[in-house]
Amino acid sequence: MTRLLRAVGAEMLKTRRTLAVWMTVLTPMVVCSIQLVILLRWGKPVGTEKLDAWKTSISQCNLLWVLLVLPLFITLETALLAHAEHAEKQWKHLFALPVPRWAFYAAKWLVGAGLVLLGQIFLVIGEIAIGYLAGWLEPALGFGPFPPFWWTVRILSLAYLISLIVLSIHTWVALRFHSFTVAVGVGMAAAVANAMVNSSEDALHFFPWLLPGNALHHAEAIAWLPWALTVGIVGGIALAVAGGWDVTRRDVL
């Protein structure tokens, strides 16, 4: 445990002055800015019979986030974290240290998970901030004084937990292959596939990149949320272990 904590400490230090950290702020900011523009152009009450203005706005924002942005965000975060090691051939230094190789992989996964969580926290903050801002600039939108904070946190927490399997896949790809292009390419291919298989009932249950989005769609009622959480968390951990085993047993050439 001490070795893992040390490796996480070292990993966190490596992220100083990196795009990976800036991305956690910039990415949710872009999503929220788009939503703000949409709201201001809409100009009339955004609530529906089922959802008030807050929940409608946050749901729209979340949808954009989980279906399109989150897979790419995870892709870029893991690719940037791995690139820090590949770029200057750090593995020959790290793996020659008296530190278990799994600790490096686990630390990379944990810091990746931390950065994605940070991005989601900024998303929650951004969604609430633009609700207030839009309501102040355009009172006709119908935003009330109290945003559904815990409702938002619950939905994004579910999406986050389910997306752990995606994080594990991309962490493995990014660390396994030296090429930044491969790491990003897999994420982009997954994002395109997301759009293509979105209408398939089978894919909703099995395609890892679709699972978080569907957790949002159906979070209120669906019966398969436990399934999605199981796949996301258990599958995520299993893939992280398998990926770690694969990457750390390889020769450093």
């Binding site: 001490t2 040390r6 490796a7 400490g9 070292a10 230090l13 490596k14 100083r16 002055r17 990196t18 820090a84 200057e88 051939k89 750090q90 593995w91 020959k92 230094h93 790290l94 793996f95 020659a96 240290l97 008296p98 530190v99 278990p100 020769d251 450093v252 050439l253």
Partner: protein, 310 residues
């Protein structure tokens, strides 16, 4: 340095160490023995198998056959305990350009659980204290190399493994690193394993040498032992080198030397010199230079590695 620091005898031992990449054998049955407290120069031309050997010594790649023993213990199965006593700089330094020099050392310090003072110590040792607050992306090649050395020295290792540490450095930088490396065994009791493709690079610092060519160990021993292996030869200057070469070869002598340079004849005694001189003069070839000489260490090294290439 822990227990590793008190080890006597061979700090590095390899037994029939072999590594194959497909059909190619990069390292072939290597039996190295690096004595404690030595500066061991590991020499060989590019592609001879030096870096592959070093990577096996550090557990970065697995041998196809044979064994690595560090501090008397097999590396296989004791990787973490054994590497506690090892610091390494393999090829170019592995640095994070977005961090300062000090932060780069702090990454490794955190991983090893060392006190903060270890950073100051390592920086002072390589003369990088003043520049340690600067981002590594702004470092010169020499500064990067020195920081890489500081990284290797950070855990106060009993064994320091350096793979071509002066690559890309200017003469002043080379001189500086050379001085630093030479002082380590004397001042800190370290054993230094230093690879290079240039004999001149290590002959001033190394106490022991290992010469590798095409993955095979061609020589292992002290500098004195290598010197003892040098034969003598006859250096010859004539007014018609090609004619002289033909005459000497025809008479059974082995002749080397490229056009426009002196001829080297594999003769070793004054009597041989007299016979060669007589043969050439009687054939009408003018001899203006004749000297029995001993080849330099560099030439002996090149001869050894050229033989391995054949």
């Amino acid at each position: 340095m822990g227990q590793a620091g008190h080890h006597r005898g061979a700090v590095i031992e390899t037994r029939r160490l072999t590594r194959r990449f497909g059909a190619e054998t990069a390292v072939d049955g290597l039996d190295l023995s690096v004595p404690a407290g030595s500066v061991f120069g590991f020499l060989g031309p590019n592609g001879a198998g030096k870096t592959t050997t070093i990577r096996m010594l550090l557990g970065l790649i697995r041998p196809s056959g044979g064994e690595v023993r560090l501090f008397g213990r097999p590396l296989d199965g004791n990787r973490l305990d054994t590497l506690l006593g090892v610091g390494a700089l393999v090829e170019t330094p592995s640095l994070y350009p977005n961090l300062t020099g000090r932060e780069n050392l702090d990454v490794t310090r955190r991983l090893l659980g060392l006190p903060g003072s270890a950073i100051d110590c390592a920086l002072a040792r390589v003369g990088m204290t003043a520049a340690s607050g600067k981002l590594v992306r702004h470092y010169s090649l020499g500064m990067r190399q020195r920081l890489g050395l500081a990284l290797a020295l950070l855990p106060e290792p009993a064994l320091l493994v350096l793979d071509e540490p002066t690559n890309g450095l200017d003469p002043a930088g080379i001189h500086e690193i050379r001085g630093l490396v030479a002082a380590l065994p004397r001042e800190h009791g370290m054993t230094v394993f230093l690879s290079s493709h240039l004999l001149s690079e290590v002959e001033q610092t190394a106490t022991h040498l290992g010469i590798i060519g095409r993955g095979r160990l061609l020589f292992q021993g002290t500098l004195e032992e290598l010197q003892a292996r040098r034969g003598t030869r006859l250096l010859l200057g004539t007014d018609r080198d090609e004619r002289a070469r033909a005459l000497l070869v025809g008479a059974g002598w082995e002749v080397r030397g490229s056009p426009n340079s002196a001829l080297h004849v594999s003769a070793s005694t004054p009597e041989d010199a007299a016979r060669v001189n007589r043969l050439l003069v009687e054939a009408g070839v003018g001899v203006f230079h004749l000297r029995v000489e001993q080849p330099s260490l560099e030439e002996t090294f090149l001869d050894l590695t050229r033989e391995a290439e054949r």
